[in-house]
């Protein structure tokens, strides 16, 4: 088993959480791309479509869309279908940050390496919202939670 690596980034929302990585290659809109009842990605993101965000560390390039994004992150949290942490290449928009603070979801952005290719889907990831991302070997947990289907 490979050792745990630490990737530094910019801490955006404080807190600590760990889970298997879900790596989205495409920009994500929390309003519209995710079914809040199940946490399943229903939007046009081929890399993760049909997979659930629930309990995952979501790794993605950038958030897009609406000033209503906060509401949907908060709703995912209320349904227990939320990602436990976010790692993103670019600073997400203020609404996402607000939703993450409400939902206690730590965020690290601008990581020092290209996490979209260096973090393997399913790898166990721990996010420290002060700006650290620790990546361990895949736990295999991620695949068990996929293909719940779209509603």
């Amino acid at each position: 088993m490979s050792a745990v690596r630490t990737i530094r980034g910019r801490g955006i929302v404080a807190g600590r959480a760990a889970g298997p990585a879900l790596v989205a290659k495409e920009p994500i809109s929390f309003l519209g791309d995710v079914d809040i009842r199940t946490g399943t990605v229903v939007g046009d993101l081929p890399s993760v479509r049909g997979q659930s965000l629930a309990g995952k560390v979501l790794v993605f390039p950038v958030s897009i869309g609406s000033a209503g994004a906060w509401r949907f992150l908060y709703q995912l949290y209320q349904h227990g279908t939320h990602p436990v942490a976010l790692v993103c290449r670019e600073l997400p928009d203020p609404s996402v940050v607000q939703g993450a603070i409400l939902a206690k979801i730590p965020i690290v952005c601008a990581p020092e390496e290209d996490v979209l290719s260096t973090i393997e889907p399913g790898a166990e990831v721990e996010v420290d919202g002060s700006g650290l991302v620790r990546v361990g070997p895949p736990s295999g947990l991620a695949e068990q939670n996929t293909h719940r289907g779209c509603s």
């Binding site: 509401r71 600073l91 940050v97």
Partner: protein
């Protein structure tokens, strides 16, 4: 970020739990966006507490329960049910009772129970250079672009800003972001308010979160026209500010709007662009269940127009006509005899909500105990491209987009009347 002793005291909990939570959230937000310090705000347009979302009314109740009060004038955004005249909308009583709890929370918080997306028509009218915050992007864009106030497109933290009277200094609170990014030349007649709605949608899609600067309006746009334009700029794109030189404070001309020479290339808006928006939002087999006007929530002037079009006439049997506006404008309209004229013609005057805000159980997840069923609607006739977009995304039914005048003619005649004769 740099905090004043007053802000530090809030953060240290010396002013109570509510202010501590609120300022702590705002400090995190400010740190994320590189804010140097806080601005003092003069107004906050805040979250209503939405009965169709799980544990959302409770968000406002919890703040009220720990003693939160609005430190500045505050108005409540649109909600999920007409809390007074709900029977005419078909909402289940369980949903309405939950929504009414939000009203009690706002009474405790000290925010005005406006429950509208157009609080300015209800008397909340911030001024030039006043820092403010808004959860509703239509309010953000109107206050920035028409009144010259300073607001970001915000989320729940508008509530925190209201509680503390503070907001981190970033985005549209800074002069550097309040200048034009795109030049837009209007080369089409704009004959009705819905043409401004279509224009805003067209341009919003092209400029994203930029700052469009408009020239070439056929006349000086009025308040309802500016309101319609801003609402769709904010819906189709991420626009928070548009500039019409000579209208938007403090920009007198193109040079000031761009803080330098205006770009040579302009986005040109033509009649065909407007037609494309009307076409895009007109789908289905032509059948419809509901005709809706009043998005954004109607002004008193718009209520007068509806009444004039409906006076002495009768909405066709089997057609439902909804006019949505704020409680305050509804009261003014009632006092002027306008509500009676609309109701006598068979129209319904609805406050606190609108079709996309009360019928969207398809995309939300209310408590099953509320008994909310997604409505089975074929199509809604609308006069606003904003309403059209969200009806489609959130209710998932067809829309037919036309002008206000023709939407009302549609309700009277029972057959869809398109904005342009050659459309569909």
């Amino acid at each position: 970020m740099k905090l004043s002793s007053y802000e530090r005291a809030m953060l240290d909990g010396e002013q109570g739990e509510a202010r501590r939570i609120a300022i702590a959230g705002l400090v995190q937000l400010g740190d994320a966006f590189g804010a140097e310090d806080m601005v003092e705000i003069g107004y906050a347009h805040i979250h209503a507490g939405m009965a169709l979302y799980l544990h959302d009314v409770e968000l406002m109740e919890e703040l009220a329960a720990i003693g939160a009060k609005m430190a500045v004038p505050a108005s409540a955004n649109i909600a999920n049910a007409d809390m007074a005249n709900w029977r005419q909308t078909g909402a289940p009583e369980t949903l309405v009772r939950l929504q009414q709890r939000a009203e009690v929370a706002h009474q405790k918080l000290g925010s005005a129970c406006s429950f509208t997306c157009t609080p300015y028509w209800a008397g909340h009218w911030p001024t030039w250079n006043m820092h403010m915050t808004s959860i509703e992007s239509t309010v953000t864009v109107f206050c920035n672009s028409v009144l010259g106030a300073r607001s970001n497109r915000d989320g729940f933290f508008a509530v925190y800003a209201g509680i503390t009277g503070r907001y981190p200094r970033f985005g549209y609170h800074l002069d550097v972001n309040r200048r034009g990014t795109h030049r837009v030349r209007v080369e089409t007649p704009l004959e009705t308010v819905s043409d401004y709605s279509a224009l805003g949608f067209h341009v919003g899609r092209l400029v994203g979160d930029g700052v469009p600067v408009f020239e070439g309006f056929p006349h000086r746009p009025g308040l309802d026209e500016l309101d319609a334009l801003g609402a769709t700029l904010a819906t189709a794109g991420g626009v928070a500010l548009f500039i019409v030189p000579g209208i938007t404070p403090p920009f007198a001309d193109l040079g000031q709007a761009f803080a330098g020479p205006a770009p040579h290339d302009a986005i040109v808006a033509r009649r065909t662009d407007l037609e494309a928006i009307y076409d895009q939002f007109t789908t289905g087999d032509g059948g419809f269940d509901l005709v809706h006007v009043g998005c954004p929530h109607a002004s008193f002037e718009e209520m007068k127009i509806y009444a004039r079009l409906l006076d002495g006439k009768q909405v066709r049997d089997g057609v439902e006509l909804w006019v949505t506006t704020s409680r305050q404008v509804r009261q003014m309209a009632a006092d002027a005899g306008i509500v009676r004229t609309i109701e006598r013609a068979g129209g319904k005057v609805i406050s606190d909500t609108c079709p996309m805000s009360c019928h969207f159980a398809r995309t939300t997840s209310p408590d099953p105990a509320l008994g909310v069923e997604p409505p089975r609607l074929r199509a809604i006739v609308v006069d606003s491209a904003k309403q059209a977009k969200y009806v489609r995304d959130m209710i998932g039914c067809d829309t037919l987009l036309t002008s206000t005048e023709r939407a009302i003619e549609t309700a009277l005649g029972g057959a869809f009347r398109p904005r342009f004769g050659d459309q569909r």
